[in-house]
């Protein structure tokens, strides 16, 4: 929409009980220069949308991109979710105001002369007690300019807040392992000091029981967290990936190989990854 190419951002496009807008961190595009887009959702009080793993019900927003030649998008970066729902049905998602960040690659051969339009068809399920599916067409048009303009203040603030809401890689010195029990996984963390509060959000569905308890046992150098297996989990898993939240602001992405207690590598005989120092104590490289 050429009409909207002004300094201030256009109003969001309506979705059920909220709006969504597509914004660019910097207001120009150039060959070979990556940029970040934001899918900014604003929801009426009490309504929510979902994380990439929605939990027991719901579904995450899905995006179909309409991109100029030479432009490609990377994987969506999802802010740390919240636990939503009821005692027996637990969902993972966001209320109020949330922005997903989308890294964008612009090829060295990107040849547009004046302006590039990035469009997105967003399908999103918005729920409170009930759920309403919505669809919105959003777009952002960026002038082609080799010089990188200073981001405007409001946009900068939105991106800064969104980045703050993202889980970070865990410190390199931290060690995790997962012990595969009969009905539970035990996440063992060695972080160098005692941790008394932790909750885990699984990236993959049907691994842990979302509504199950997550009992923590603090240790002098970290913690052990017991996670009940999902009833839908019928086969062994190789890795437990997800977001570990230690307190309101401290969220970390983890990706931990799963090992049987005291047993040899699982029967499927997979390769030993370079990050695994031994079969019993598997260390993890954070993404």
């Amino acid at each position: 929409m050429v009409l909207c190419a002004t300094e201030s951002r256009a109003a969001g496009t309506p979705i059920p009980h909220g709006t969504v807008e597509l914004i660019s961190e910097i207001q120009s595009i150039a060959a070979g220069r990556p940029l970040y887009l934001g899918l900014h959702f604003q929801l009426e009080r009490g309504w929510h949308i979902y994380w990439v793993n929605p939990g027991d019900s719901g579904e995450p927003p899905r995006v179909k991109w309409d991109l100029p030649k030479g432009v490609s998008v990377g994987a969506i970066e999802w802010p740390t979710p919240r636990r939503l729902g009821t005692p027996s049905i637990v969902d993972f998602g966001y209320e109020d105001d949330v922005m997903l960040i989308v890294p964008v690659r612009v090829d060295a051969g990107f040849a547009a002369q004046k302006e590039a339009r990035v469009g997105a068809e967003v399908k999103v399920l918005v729920c409170r007690e009930m759920c309403i599916p919505g669809k919105a067409e959003v777009s952002v048009s960026l002038p082609v300019k080799p010089s990188q303009p200073v981001p405007e203040r409001e946009t900068s603030a939105l991106f800064a807040a969104a980045r703050k809401s993202m889980p970070r890689p865990a410190p390199a010195s931290w060690r995790f392992r997962v012990i595969d029990g009969k009905d539970s996984f035990e996440l063992v963390a060695e972080v160098g000091h005692q941790i008394t509060q932790a909750s885990f959000f699984p990236l993959a569905e049907s691994q842990i029981k979302n509504a199950g308890p997550q009992d923590i046992v603090p240790t002098s150098t970290g913690f052990r967290l017991k996670l009940t297996k999902s009833d839908q989990l019928l086969k062994p898993i190789e890795r437990l990936q997800g977001v570990l939240v230690l307190s309101a602001d401290k969220a970390y992405s983890i990706d931990v190989p799963v090992g049987k207690p005291g047993a040899a590598k699982n029967s499927s005989g997979n390769e030993i990854r370079s990050t695994q120092s031994s079969e019993s104590s598997k260390e993890v490289t954070q993404k």
């Binding site: 019900s57 027996s88 399920l125 599916p133 019928l234």
Partner: protein, 208 residues
């Protein structure tokens, strides 16, 4: 094929003990929890009366867009007709609590069934959520398949397209049909458990 060697009475006792603590009693490969339900047609149905038959359980909420996808397209009705035509017992289960989305009276449900030309064996009214909690049903339309030995052989989504989009139905893999086809042919069910996509079941313990 695995057969349960437990005496029915013992199973019942175990289930009665398990239900109140909200541990999931239904699990693939294990005996299906017994229940007695009152249907919108006024009759009472007992799961144990259907030993020797395949039984499908379908969690339902007429206001849920995921359920709407399968009824507005005629997909659910087609499945109901196809499988009851082959001797399968099909229970549609309504676990919405009074005042919640999807809660209906018996006559409202009968009107709905007629309007939609739905063809389950019966629609069981479960406003207390007892049957829903017994199976740890999370969503509508969650689907469970029970074999003639009374063992759960499938628990999860209706198909592999967790969306509200009608256009996905023709290209979806239907897990219920896959499970029934395999089990009727004496084969193992390849995909026996999936994430049951949809709207959360509107139990009385909802926080809103």
């Amino acid at each position: 094929m695995k057969h349960s060697k437990l005496y029915p009475t013992l199973v019942t006792v175990l289930l009665l003990c398990a239900a109140p603590i909200l541990m999931s009693a239904a699990k693939v490969g294990e005996p299906a929890p017994g229940f007695t339900g009152t249907a919108s047609n006024g009759k009472t149905y007992r799961l144990s009366d259907y030993r020797g038959k395949f039984v499908v359980l379908e969690w339902h909420n007429n206001g849920c867009p995921y359920v709407g996808k399968h009824y507005n397209s005629g997909n659910m009705q087609r499945l109901q007709k196809q499988w009851t035509g082959r001797g399968v017992v099909w229970f549609t289960i309504l676990s919405s609590a009074p005042g919640k989305q999807g809660f209906v009276s018996a006559s409202e449900e009968n009107e709905y069934l007629a309007k939609e030309q739905a063809a389950p064996t019966a629609a069981l009214l479960d406003p207390t959520g007892e049957i829903g909690h017994l199976y740890d049903a999370k969503t509508s339309p969650q689907m469970v398949v029970i074999n003639p030995q009374g063992v759960v052989i499938y628990d999860g989504a209706i198909d592999d397209k967790p969306t509200t989009d009608l256009a996905d139905i023709p290209v979806a893999t239907n897990y219920v049909s896959l499970a029934l086809d395999a089990a009727m042919a004496g084969k193992e069910v390849a995909t026996a458990a999936t994430r049951p996509y949809g709207c959360s079941v509107k139990y009385g313990d909802s926080s809103h």
